[in-house]
């Protein structure tokens, strides 16, 4: 039992404990949920230990015990630089979500907070599972609480959005399950580390068709979750209809499940397929960046605008991953965290505005700055962070991604940079229409400034925006160590063209020679 297991199972224990709280005591369930989530956050800070001074190469805090005997499924979890920050992001955002829902949720309070904790359980599990099957289990578990969060506590079209969200993800993930089972039948193991080393050493050689199909099965599941254009259509609905905390968890952490899956599984398991598809994927990513930005620009609804901005921002992440460069990957992972912080912050701010006016339409605001200066300031910082202003977090991520992409194909950078410009346009335009201008009488009376509770929720995010933007070196080293490893793994591939005919696989050195040769031709 390591510290990591504690971090995984504490939310589940919290979920079960919360179910025992009597229904008639909403205050008690709020306090209990906040207490539990803060404890989880504090415990999870302990995970930083091994990464404080050194960069361990393997997995830390790993536990590997048998779970199911036939087929062999093990409870195998481990932490590395890739999952470390995502877990801390999850454990940080959960108490924040509880704080921002403190007053907003008045109906079925106990269940709401219980589902938030169950969601946290699933999310942490996804980021640390090293057994493919275990990963799938956690992946599906996250669906259930999010489905209920949207469906019960959401806005008017919540049911449509919830069902759409569930079905999209489910449709993608069943394909992934099929691919996992196929891999198991070929390799005899669900353990990611074992399969990966088998593929790397050539003990498991998949034919070209197998690689492509398996890669696509995984990729589609992850791409739906990211979401990559054109599979993004569930996202605006889910975001708009979800309650604020739901949107925050969805945008900040759940979308990262897809990105994480791409880096963790798609690249090391199917390097050849990933590399040969990367052109198409990057084209889609860039389309998503520009398309998301353009659609965001014309949205009359703030939440929808932020949702489409997510589509745009996550295009950068995919672009970074599939640039197959050190900077691009680092930027992609960093951008995952940045997006979690800044878009989470944006959703929280939009939620604050909604609680005051009960509207998400941009046109029902205007002149907020006068009655609520603090709110406007915080909103401004968050907006600027999202745009990618230097010294704020998004800048670092986007810069690294663009730099990485430029070394591979400069035109990608050019097109992606258009997205950066557009993001400034739509964000600032929204900010201007909401905050400036003349406040109506009605608005001025119903626009109290930030309360202490609301400050408490935003303050950690503001601190992180500045910190991540100005001292990226406190975060990047564990990420770089891991992305370098994955980059190495995804380079080393068995040459399929040989292994189809010849059962003895030829390792990477031969591949590289061939590839350079064919590129020259």
């Amino acid at each position: 039992m390591s510290l990591l297991d504690l971090v995984i199972f504490l939310p589940l224990i919290g979920f079960l404990a919360l179910l025992l709280v009597p229904r008639g005591a909403p205050g008690m369930s709020r306090t209990a949920a906040l207490g539990i989530s803060l404890v989880i956050f504090l415990v999870s800070l302990g995970l930083l230990g091994p990464y404080w001074f050194a960069q361990p190469t393997g997995y830390t805090f790993s536990t590997d015990i048998p779970w199911i005997s036939t087929p062999t499924i093990r409870y195998h979890v481990g932490l590395d630089g890739l999952s470390l920050w995502l877990i801390l992001l999850t454990t940080l955002l959960t108490p924040i979500c509880i704080v921002i829902s403190w007053k907003y949720i008045q109906n079925r309070v106990k269940e709401y907070f219980a589902f938030l904790l169950l969601l946290e359980f699933g999310l942490i599990g996804v980021f640390v599972a090293l057994d493919l099957f275990l990963f799938y289990v956690f992946w599906e578990i996250t669906l259930v609480p999010m489905y209920f969060l949207i469906g019960i506590w959401g806005h008017d079209r919540r049911i449509y959005a919830a069902v759409k969200f569930f079905l999209y993800t489910m449709a993608g993930s069943v394909l992934m399950l099929a691919a996992m089972i196929y891999l198991y039948n070929r390799s005899g193991s669900f353990d990611f580390t074992i399969i990966q080393s088998m593929i790397q050493t050539g003990r498991l050689s998949l034919s070209w068709e197998e690689q492509i199909l398996l890669f696509l099965a995984f990729f589609i599941a992850f791409a739906i979750k990211v979401p990559l254009f054109p599979l993004h259509t569930w996202l605006p609905d889910a975001h708009v209809e979800a309650p604020t905390a739901g949107s925050v968890m969805l945008a900040s952490v759940m979308l990262k499940m897809g990105c994480y899956g791409l880096i963790r599984f798609c690249l090391p398991l199917f390097p050849n397929a990933a590399r040969s598809c990367s052109g198409w994927i990057n084209a889609l990513a860039i389309t998503g960046i520009i398309y998301g930005a353009l659609v965001a620009m014309v949205q009359p609804n703030m939440k929808k605008l932020v949702a489409y901005s997510s589509v745009s921002h996550l295009g950068f992440v995919v672009l970074g991953i599939f640039s197959f460069t050190q900077q691009g990957m680092d930027g992609a992972v960093y951008q995952m965290l940045n997006h979690g912080i800044s878009t989470g912050g944006l959703f929280i701010m939009v939620g604050y505005l909604y609680e005051r006016r009960h509207s998400l339409e941009i046109k029902s605001f205007g002149g907020v700055a006068t009655p609520a200066p603090n709110l406007s300031t915080v909103f401004l910082i968050t907006t600027l962070a999202s745009i990618g202003l230097p010294l704020l977090n998004n800048f670092i991520g986007e810069f690294l991604v663009l730099q990485g992409a430029a070394t591979v194909n400069f035109s990608w950078t050019v097109f992606a940079a258009i997205g950066v410009i557009l993001s400034a346009v739509y964000m600032l335009w929204m900010y201007q229409r909401v905050i400036y201008g003349r406040a109506t009488e009605d608005l001025a009376h119903h626009m109290p400034d930030l309360s202490g509770r609301e400050w408490a929720a935003m303050l950690p995010l503001l601190v992180l925006m500045v910190w991540m933007g100005s001292f990226s070196q406190s975060f990047l080293p564990p990420i770089s160590a891991q992305t370098a490893k994955i980059l190495e793994q995804s380079k080393v591939g068995v040459d399929f063209r040989v292994s189809v005919k010849n059962p003895a696989p030829v390792l990477s050195s031969a591949v590289e020679n061939k590839e350079t040769g064919s590129a020259a031709r």
């Binding site: 229904r23 199911i68 005997s69 036939t70 087929p71 079925r108 269940e111 799938y136 289990v137 956690f138 599906e140 578990i141 669906l143 259930v144 489905y147 209920f148 469906g151 019960i152 919540r158 049911i159 919830a162 069902v163 569930f166 079905l167 489910m170 449709a171 069943v174 394909l175 399950l177 099929a178 089972i181 196929y182 198991y184 039948n185």
Partner: protein, 489 residues
């Protein structure tokens, strides 16, 4: 062979202990029903429950003896014992979940319990049959009792319709089956499964494959009717909708499990050598069953009918495992049928409680607001529905997982992909129930629901617990299934 050889040994009786116990208890209940007073009737339910528990013990004893008995007519192996215990547990759950129904409809009579026991006895016969004749006898014992159960409230028009449809189409199906048995006997000179296999394996004596295929096809028609596989599934929705809810729960699990048991045993043991011939047909039937079940369920408004279509779809998943015709496929089918039984009975138990007297409230929309007014029951139903969808940590998920693993192991890639996409489609109509329960404003139907009776509580909680245990520790059941899945000895 001298006739004295047919005199059974003491071991033979022990091998047949569960069937003997069930029959004796059933007959005793019939007798007490005739002589006993009105007041003693609830005791008959307890007696039936005790009989089922004794029969479970009896199947364990029978497994201890093991082997074939009664001149090779009966085989007691792990496979048979698995299905015996499964149908017995299904019977127990049916009895506890029917208590409230029988009280409510003022129909608490011994016949219900006696018929249930007879039906289960028939299913036990099927599970342990090593002979086509025994298969037929078991099927008839099981079916005739369930025909009557389907029309148990004989003044109720829906019950009558259900029983009549079930009877007519069911006897039609058994006729096909019997005709197939006759063909097999004519072609191979035996009705013993191992002997049929031996004949088919010997090149000199192997009968014409076209005729043998026809025989297998005729038997397939019979089995497909019983497991409600397309294109012979049309009866299922009408019958399950019309029958009393606890009986529908029973019919969609017990006879189905037993029918799959003989299906697997006959097709893998006896027709194993001609697997390449029947595999394409079962393949097609599996796909058609999944698609018909799932897509028809999408538009249903009656919960019982919806569960009936979902039951068809689930038969399709099990057919995928049959198509794999491998040991892990058999084990997967066994596990799936067990997991499926619990979630289906649990869902029907909630419907039994919810529908109230005369089954007035069986529409999907009637569930509106159940999550708010009866959070505990709603949570249980949610567990069953999530399991039917196949969300991890429930039995239904592992069932699907094992089935599709077996299918991929037999290189049935397309079948797997279509099946998995089907399960994504299925999520939609199960989710609709959850949506109505939790996300709709409470309606009139959820007002003033009486309490859940103790029996139903046991049934619902027991099924939920079993669903979760199968989902978290599937090895408990799967290891046994895996050990006993070897049908070809």
């Amino acid at each position: 062979m001298p006739l004295a050889n047919f005199i059974p040994t003491a071991d033979d009786y022990l091998r047949y202990l569960p069937e003997i116990i069930l029959t004796v208890v059933g007959v005793v209940i019939m007798f007490l029903e005739a002589v006993g007073g009105e007041r003693r009737k609830p005791a008959l339910g307890w007696l039936a429950g005790a009989g089922l528990l004794a029969a479970i013990w009896g199947s364990v004893v029978a497994l201890g003896v093991g082997g074939t008995g009664f001149q090779n007519m009966v085989i007691v192996d792990g496979f048979a014992t698995f299905f015996r215990i499964l149908v017995l547990v299904i019977g127990l759950l049916t009895i506890v979940s029917s208590t409230q129904y029988l009280d409510r409809e003022k129909a608490n009579a011994g016949e219900f319990h006696a018929l249930l026991l007879f039906s289960i006895a028939g299913q036990c016969v099927m599970a342990s049959a090593n002979e086509l004749i025994m298969v037929f006898i078991g099927l008839e014992i099981s079916s005739i009792a369930s025909y009557i159960l389907a029309g148990y409230l004989r003044d109720d028009r829906r019950n009558n319709e259900s029983a009549l449809k079930y009877f007519l189409l069911g006897s039609f199906a058994t006729a096909f089956l019997l005709y197939g048995v006759a063909w097999v006997y004519g072609l191979t000179g035996s009705t013993n499964l191992a002997e049929v296999r031996r004949v088919l394996m010997t090149p000199e004596s192997a009968p014409n494959l076209v005729l043998m295929g026809t025989a297998a096809a005729l038997m397939f028609v019979g089995f497909a009717f019983k497991v409600s596989a397309a294109p012979f599934q049309v009866w299922a929705p009408d019958v399950y909708q019309g029958a009393p809810a606890p009986v529908s729960a029973f019919m969609s699990t017990g006879p189905k499990a037993a029918a799959f048991a003989v299906f697997l045993r006959v097709f893998i043991t006896a027709f194993g050598p001609i697997a390449t011939r029947w595999e394409p047909f079962v393949w097609g039937s599996a796909i058609a069953t999944m698609i018909v079940g799932n897509f028809a369920a999408l538009t249903q408004t009656n919960i019982k009918r919806l569960l009936a279509y979902s039951s068809i779809a689930h038969a399709g998943y099990v057919l995928v495992a049959v198509t794999a015709h491998s040991e892990i496929g058999t084990a997967a089918a066994m596990f799936y049928l067990a997991a499926y039984a619990f979630m289906q009975i649990g869902a029907f138990a909630v419907v039994t409680w919810f529908s109230r007297q005369g089954e007035k409230f069986v529409n999907v929309d009637d569930l509106a607001g159940l999550g708010e007014r009866q959070p505990m029951v709603a949570a249980m139903l949610t567990i069953f529905l999530l399991s039917l969808i196949g969300v991890p940590l429930t039995g239904g998920f592992f069932g699907k997982f094992y089935i599709f693993r077996a299918a991929l192991d037999s290189n049935l890639v397309w079948l797997t992909v279509i099946g998995l996409l089907n399960s994504a489609v299925a999520a939609y109509y199960y989710l609709r129930l959850i949506v109505v329960m939790y996300m709709k404003e409470p309606g009139a139907a959820t007002e003033n629901i009486g309490p859940v009776s103790a029996g139903l509580r046991v049934a619902i909680l027991g099924s939920a617990l079993a669903t979760l245990v199968l989902g978290i520790f599937p090895s408990l059941v799967l290891d046994f299934a895996g050990r006993s899945a070897a049908l070809v000895k």
